[in-house]
């Protein structure tokens, strides 16, 4: 049996049988592949830096267009002009003052809206009566756009701070309510059974089982609520404000100060980003057990 040697794919031929009568017969046709991790040599920069390139290009084009005069200053100020306006506003204290007014409104809105939404969620999901009284009504009102309530709110509350905060409170309470109550309803009944078997009181059941179990849902609601709070703040500050970022922008609008308007936009964005980051941090802290 001296069949012609079969070509091997591996470097070292595998000798399966070698006698003096028949020379080495290699039967190895399986292709061997390296399983070492592939190294992508093209990627030298971290991906996040590469992505930043696109943003830099956009800003460069914007700056160029503003300098050359393709975009008039009263249409849109260039980045460098915006930066100057921003530092000026910061130095004069106007920006911080406006920022503080806006942050306070959102703070009040969240500070009142979150407990209200949570309390309603507890009432609705822990008793039949509460469910009947609260849930159906909240689910119905949820579909009324909050912005559309503004005329009614102004009639009731005037045009001062109260109306602005009230709108934020309402806007915050809904997502907190919806997410928390559905999280409580979705709680594993086996945990409730366990609580019964170890004789937990109703209060202990709420404190040790219901609330921590609903926490992930609550935090989803909180993230939604913070973004809604900023959104409603922008809207509330466009009407009849005498302070705040929105007021700053509205006043700039009158004088076609597009640089100040852009400063306001950037401030809103930074505030939104910061508060979202804070909620994420809170999430990581509170949900360590995951």
């Amino acid at each position: 049996m001296s069949a012609p040697p079969v070509a091997a794919v591996v470097d070292e031929p595998v000798v399966l049988a070698a006698t003096q009568a028949a020379p080495a017969t290699v039967v190895e046709t399986v292709e061997l592949r390296s399983v070492a991790p592939s190294t992508d040599r093209r990627r030298r920069l971290p991906r996040s830096l590469e992505r930043l390139g696109g943003v830099v290009a956009l800003f460069a084009a914007w700056e160029l267009a503003a300098r050359v005069g393709w975009i008039a200053p009263d249409v849109l100020a260039g980045p460098s002009t915006v930066l100057t306006a921003g530092t000026d506003l910061l130095r004069s204290g106007v920006l911080l003052e406006s920022l503080w007014a806006s942050v306070q409104r959102v703070g009040w809105g969240l500070g009142l809206g979150v407990p209200i939404g949570t309390a309603l969620a507890l009432i609705a999901s822990l008793s039949r009566l509460g469910d009947d009284l609260v849930d159906a009504n909240v689910q119905m009102l949820r579909f009324v756009p909050i912005i559309a309530l503004q005329p009614l709110f102004v009639v009731w509350l005037g045009v001062g701070e109260t109306v602005k905060i009230a709108m934020i409170v309402l806007g915050v309470a809904f997502p907190i309510y919806v997410n928390t109550s559905s999280a409580i309803r979705a709680l594993d009944v086996r945990y409730v059974e366990l609580a019964t078997s170890v004789g937990l009181t109703r209060r202990a059941l709420i404190r040790k089982v219901v609330l921590p179990g609903a926490l992930p849902g609550f935090l989803v609601g909180l993230r939604l609520a913070t973004s809604i709070a900023w959104l409603l703040l922008v809207f509330a500050e466009q009407i009849n404000a005498t302070s705040g970022i929105g007021f700053l922008m509205a006043r700039a609008q009158v004088f076609f100060q597009t640089d100040v308007i852009v400063v306001g936009l950037v401030t809103y964005a930074v505030l939104g980003l910061l508060s979202d980051g804070a909620v994420r941090l809170l999430e990581r802290r509170l949900l360590r057990w995951r």
Binding site: R190, Y191, K208, R290
Partner: protein
């Protein structure tokens, strides 16, 4: 009271679900410190009976006298994922006065090093040992075990059998083990009950000295008897198929 020398007394316990009778008038006495295994096929009503004893189901008819201090170990460890192992063991107890005792019991089940761990980081066997610790820290007069080893792999199960044996010998609660594993019942219990269609169809003492071995002739005989009662004939299915082939 006349019942002080009994851990459990059940008289004519019946349970119906939507007109379907699951328990047909069960009578049972359990002495303090007695370990009883309750065998039955799925749907025989054994878990329903355990839930009634645990106080998790109050929809039954009849009279049931149980100790105030009783604990349940479920098939799933059922640890609250947002609490440390130690806090899970302490669930429902005074965390300050019982903490040391909870640590002792965790040590007994071999989890002393895991008291601060999150339940999600435990293996199946470890989680079930934590559940055992949670049951035992309450010094129960009645320990209810609802197929507690059903979800564990075979090797872990053997280790858990030994552990439960040791813990029961030390704490001596009356114990009711619901299982469908005949060997497990014979290994652990003083007495084995078989529940068939909501009635006790067999009640036999296990008169084999501990430690018991599966190869013991009395073990083999009892296993055959219990399997027959459960409607399983170990030799039958293959023989029958073989005859047709």
């Amino acid at each position: 009271m006349a019942l002080t020398n009994l851990a459990v007394s059940a008289r004519d316990v019946r349970r119906t679900f939507d007109g379907r009778t699951v328990l047909h008038g069960l009578d049972l006495d359990l002495r303090p410190g007695e370990f009883v295994a309750l065998l039955g096929r799925s749907g025989s009503g054994k878990s329903t009976f355990l839930r009634a004893l645990a106080g998790l189901d109050t929809g039954f008819d009849g009279t049931l006298t149980v100790p105030r201090r009783r604990s349940v170990v479920f098939q799933d460890a059922r640890l609250l994922p947002w609490m440390s192992v130690l806090d899970n063991v302490l669930l429902g107890l005074d965390g300050r006065s019982e903490r040391e005792r909870a640590r002792e019991v965790l040590n007994e089940v071999g989890l002393a090093a895991h008291e601060d761990a999150w339940p999600r980081t435990l293996s199946g066997g470890e989680a079930q040992r934590a559940a055992l610790a949670r049951a035992l820290v309450r010094s129960p007069d009645l320990l209810l075990l609802d197929e507690p080893f059903g979800a564990l792999d075979a090797l872990t199960r053997i280790r858990m059998h030994v552990l439960v044996q040791q813990l029961w010998a030390r704490h001596r609660p009356a114990a009711l083990l619901v299982t469908h594993d005949v060997d497990e019942a014979i290994l652990l219990a003083d007495r084995v009950l078989v529940l068939t269609d909501g009635r006790f169809s067999l009640d036999v003492p296990v008169e084999i000295h501990q430690p018991r071995h599966r190869g013991d002739q009395r073990f083999i005989d009892l296993r055959a008897r219990l399997l027959a009662e459960l409607g399983v004939d170990e030799s039958a299915p293959t023989t029958r198929q073989g005859a047709h082939a």
